[in-house]
């Protein structure tokens, strides 16, 4: 509870439940009040984060108010506590106990005896409560109702209709929380069943939550079906590596193999939800493309498997005394990013390090150092906001849990949302967002407002300055929400050319001296380092000799990035075979997220630590390998373990000296000739961490080129046609979707099947030619 909440006087009511008095805030449901006393009333449809439904009737209790009893038992999940109420649950009232037993008997009449083949068996609320609140023997002798089973609700969610107890948790979730009402209850009476709309598939980014909250085995996940029993699984707490929302996850493993991931319970962040990408995109861990042994390029020009000492010696020989750049990538844990940062400064003696493996700008780098390091905005600010501005940020695609938070406030109290997106996407329609051409058009912001800036702001000159200006002039809170999980941690660790660990500016001599004494080194490099694109250019014109690369896909940076790496000495720390490992001179395999411990800083800058789940002796965290490499080079960084790194980061602390000032940039005039291509990524696309999971890919949105009605008319295309988008580099051919966008703009997804913008066109936004195919 925050201090503001604590001072608000809450009206309370008192009641007696099973002979014990309880005082709760007015409006509290009987079932919640009973929980406070430690009394568990059986329930199926009740869920604390969903609106009360009273669908299953399992929670019947005996209620009387001021001595007047209700004639029949009442559902405790829909009735709020009132003064003078006396409640008797199944523990003290034979009537309530008998009523619950009767309801259980009704629910079990048509419930098949699937327990041996049902995934829920062993962790099933129906199984458990049939034991605690049901009859010991069945009296039912008729034929059970059967349906054909299972049916695919989507490629990743399967439905066994005969197991369903019609609690409506799944339909309420998709309507109230996700805003994707593609699933509903059809028919009536005994034939009532969960169904999908015929012409709208269940394409929700949050469908996995319906599997998690289903109180029976009616909804199951395709990828986990028949794979294990609860008692087989070893669970560890983990943090999601897919985006910067910062979800708490639980990873379940069997015999060293990740079988499923579930949303963890963190009320301050993801509540109990997570997105399908976080839940199901983990097949990359067991992919055949994983690298498990070091590789060294031999005299014959081919990569050969090598021992660790050989590979470390080869990497050290290629890096020692050379001018080296470091591309760390945005997917590192805070500890690993710190390892890269310290390695660059101490072992390589350079500030040429950048974590940004995406389109970026110098304006952004200054913004990260001067503004982002001080941001304190959290999810609670979104909950309390009077206006949320989305600046180059598409929450449903780029940070889905942030979307859920905003959507909840939009539905609950009509929160105003404005977005500068060029396209009215499904996500912004759900938020009823007002689309504006530029941030200058937005009025009425107050200190209660929140401006959420996405990483794509770096692609438009002056966009970050405009957002900063808007927050300065109105007092609105700022937040910068990158797509990747490791970016905020990389900033804090100083894996960028103008910052040292703990937000110390490179240009500040006192900050450097502070760090020198902490690290026990004589000097630290003084000049701000190159950015990612400058490092790549320097490698190409040989002002740098070698490069150390973490988890980076060069196609995320630019179409030429891979070519710029071809003629240089490349040391790659990777989990899988990629375009970079194919051209690397030394490949050092590293542990992926469940194989190591560490922490991610989410967009709020708050750490979520996670434990190691799988012990694989061949795989080590990046920081451990960098430490060994630094020892071999004779310039030790002394970070032998993740724990030691965490301790060192904590002991360094945050810089409290002078901060750099953000110098605003002017915005560039928009080019107006021909068509302008705009793009962002879908949540589910061709991203490298989603590979190998066909069920997940089955619910990815189809790539379409969005054009306005006027544009469509001028090109002579209709909904069933395709267009060819081209420039001098190449072309993309896509079916069109008409409407929701301004004239002379064309929007395509950035990295989806059939629409990979950077490889095909060489940029992420700019002027293109469009023609009907």
């Amino acid at each position: 509870m925050t201090p503001e909440q604590a001072v608000v006087a809450v009206e309370t009511v008192s009641a007696i439940i099973d002979g014990a008095e309880v005082t709760v805030p007015k409006g509290t449901l009987i079932i919640r009040a009973a929980e406070q006393l430690g009394i568990a009333i059986p329930r199926f449809c009740d869920h604390p984060l969903l609106a009360p439904e009273g669908a299953c009737r399992q929670c019947l209790v005996d209620v009387s108010i001021n001595g007047r009893a209700f004639p029949k038992p009442q559902a405790s999940c829909t009735m709020p506590v009132e003064n003078g109420m006396v409640v008797n649950t199944q523990l003290t009232s034979p009537v309530a106990a008998k009523a619950q037993e009767g309801i259980m008997e009704f629910l079990l009449i048509n419930h098949p005896l699937d327990c041996p083949i049902c995934d829920k068996g062993g962790e099933c609320p129906l199984q458990n409560q049939a034991m605690s609140a049901g009859r010991p023997e069945s009296r039912f002798e008729g034929e059970k109702r059967t349906f054909e089973k299972p049916i695919n609700i989507s490629s990743q969610v399967l439905l066994d209709r005969e197991r369903c107890v019609l609690c409506a948790r799944c339909t309420r979730f998709s309507e109230q929380i996700a805003g994707d009402p593609f699933i509903t209850l059809n028919e009536r009476g005994a034939l009532q069943q969960v169904g999908i709309y015929e012409n709208q598939p269940f394409e929700s980014y949050y469908s996995g939550n319906t599997v998690q909250i289903c109180p029976v085995g009616a909804l199951t996940g395709s990828s986990y079906r028949f794979r294990a029993r609860p008692f087989d699984l070893v669970s560890v707490n983990s943090a999601c590596e897919h985006c910067a929302s910062g979800c708490d996850l639980r990873t379940d493993m069997r015999r060293g193999k990740t079988l499923r991931r579930l949303g963890g319970d963190d009320p301050a962040v993801n509540q109990e939800w997570n997105c399908d990408k976080g839940r199901w995109a983990f097949k990359y861990l067991t992919s055949r493309e994983r690298v498990k042994t070091p590789l060294v390029r031999g005299a014959d020009g081919e990569l050969h498997e090598a021992s660790w000492p050989e590979a470390i010696a080869a990497a050290a020989a290629g890096l020692k005394g050379k001018r080296v750049g470091v591309l760390a990538g945005g997917r590192l844990t805070h500890e690993d990013a710190y390892g890269y940062s310290k390695f660059a400064r101490v072992a390589l003696g350079t500030n040429d390090i950048d974590f940004r493996a995406r389109p970026h700008s110098d304006e952004e780098r200054d913004f990260l150092a001067a503004v982002v390091t001080n941001l304190k905005t959290t999810y609670i600010d979104i909950d309390k906001a009077d206006h949320v501005v989305l600046a180059s940020f598409e929450p449903e695609e780029e940070s889905p849990i942030v979307f859920l938070r905003i959507y909840r406030q939009v539905t609950k109290r009509g929160l105003v949302v404005s977005s500068d997106a060029p396209l009215a996407s499904r996500g912004s329609k759900k938020l009823a967002a007002q689309l504006v051409k530029g941030l200058a058009e937005i009025s009425g912001l107050t200190a209660q407002s929140v401006i959420l800036i996405g990483e794509r702001a770096a692609e438009t000159a002056g966009a970050l300055s405009a957002a900063f200006e808007l927050s300065q002039s109105t007092g609105a809170k700022l937040a910068w929400i990158p797509r990747r999980a490791g970016e905020r941690g990389a900033i804090a660790a100083g894996a960028i050319g103008n910052l040292l660990p703990g937000n110390r500016p490179v240009s500040d001599a006192t900050a450097r001296v502070d760090l020198q004494s902490a690290w026990g080194v004589k000097t630290l490099p003084e000049n701000p380092g190159r950015s990612t694109s400058e490092i790549l250019a320097a490698l190409n014109d040989e002002s740098l000799d070698a490069v150390l690369i973490g988890g980076v896909d060069p196609m995320d940076i630019s179409a030429d990035a891979l070519n710029q790496l071809l003629h240089t000495f490349v040391v790659s720390l990777e989990i899988s075979n990629t375009a970079v490992t194919a051209i690397a001179d030394v490949v050092l395999p590293v542990a992926a997220v469940v194989e190591k411990s560490g922490s991610y800083l989410d967009w709020r800058g708050i750490a979520r630590a996670f434990e190691k789940g799988i012990d694989d002796v061949d795989l080590r965290s990046d920081v451990r390998i960098l430490s060994i490499l630094a020892d071999e080079m004779g310039k030790p960084i002394n970070l032998p373990t993740v724990t030691a790194t965490t301790r060192e980061i904590a002991s360094l602390g945050i810089w409290d000296g002078t901060q750099p000032v953000f110098s605003k940039r002017a915005s560039a005039p928009a080019s107006s000739d021909g068509f302008t291509l705009v793009s962002w990524r879908f949540l589910l696309d061709l991203g490298s961490l989603q590979q190998g999971e066909a069920n997940l890919a089955g619910t990815a949105k189809q790539a379409r080129a969005h054009i306005s009605t006027a544009t469509a008319a001028s090109l002579g295309v209709s909904e069933s046609d395709s267009v060819v988008i081209s420039n001098e580099r190449g072309s993309i051919e896509l079916p069109v979707a008409i409407g929701n966008i301004a004239d002379h703009l064309i929007w395509v997804p950035r990295n989806s099947e059939g629409s990979q913008v950077i490889p095909a066109l060489g940029f992420t936004s700019g002027s293109v030619k469009v023609a009907k195919r």
Partner: protein, 183 residues
């Protein structure tokens, strides 16, 4: 002196048990040349049974593994597909291992089995010279194919469902169930 005589006679008395035993029926069995049948319900090596058409009864539910007090059983379930069907219904046991170094032959597993897939035979010769050989795989445990059975994978009996199997209504295989090379 008298005491010594008494002591000697008592020693003879002691040997009387030995002497009398020489004329009793001998219990020794000349194992392994001679093997006597076990008691009818002796708990020996497990067996994974089949339906009369050869499909496996095991559905990979892991209840045996759950019931096992010695953690000797390891099971992995998997989906039957149209092309490869091993058992009636949706699910079959893809991996089935019993570790006879751990098994205590208590029989809780066969009691837990919901389809009577797992039963125990009377076979007791379970010694070997290698620990790895004492982890029995599914192939070692599956009942042999009897007359009229077809080795899975193959489809279910024509026009039947898993319920016909559970009710014992399938009494043999149908020629259409055999794969091309088996026909």
């Amino acid at each position: 002196m008298a005491d010594e005589a008494k002591s000697f006679s008592q020693q003879l008395l002691g040997f009387w048990v030995t002497f009398a035993t020489m004329f009793k029926k001998v219990n020794t069995v000349q194992y392994p040349e001679v093997k006597e049948p076990t008691a009818e319900r002796f708990h020996g090596r497990h067996q994974l049974n089949r339906y009369e058409d050869g499909l496996e009864k095991c559905i990979g539910c892991e209840l045996c593994a759950w019931a096992c007090p010695a953690d000797a059983i390891y099971v992995e379930g998997a989906d039957n597909t149209q092309e490869e069907r091993f058992s009636p219904g949706e699910r079959f046991g893809q991996v089935y291992q019993i570790n006879y170094l751990r098994c205590v032959f208590c029989g809780l597993c066969i009691e837990a089995c919901p389809t009577r897939a797992l039963t125990m035979t009377n076979e007791y010769e379970l010694a070997d010279d290698d620990r790895a050989k004492l982890i029995f795989e599914k192939d070692d445990l599956l009942a042999p194919l009897r007359q009229g059975m077809i080795a899975p994978p193959h489809p279910m009996y024509p026009d039947s469902s898993h319920l016909n199997y559970y009710k014992g209504e399938i009494t043999g295989s149908h020629p259409s169930q055999a794969r091309e090379e088996q026909k």
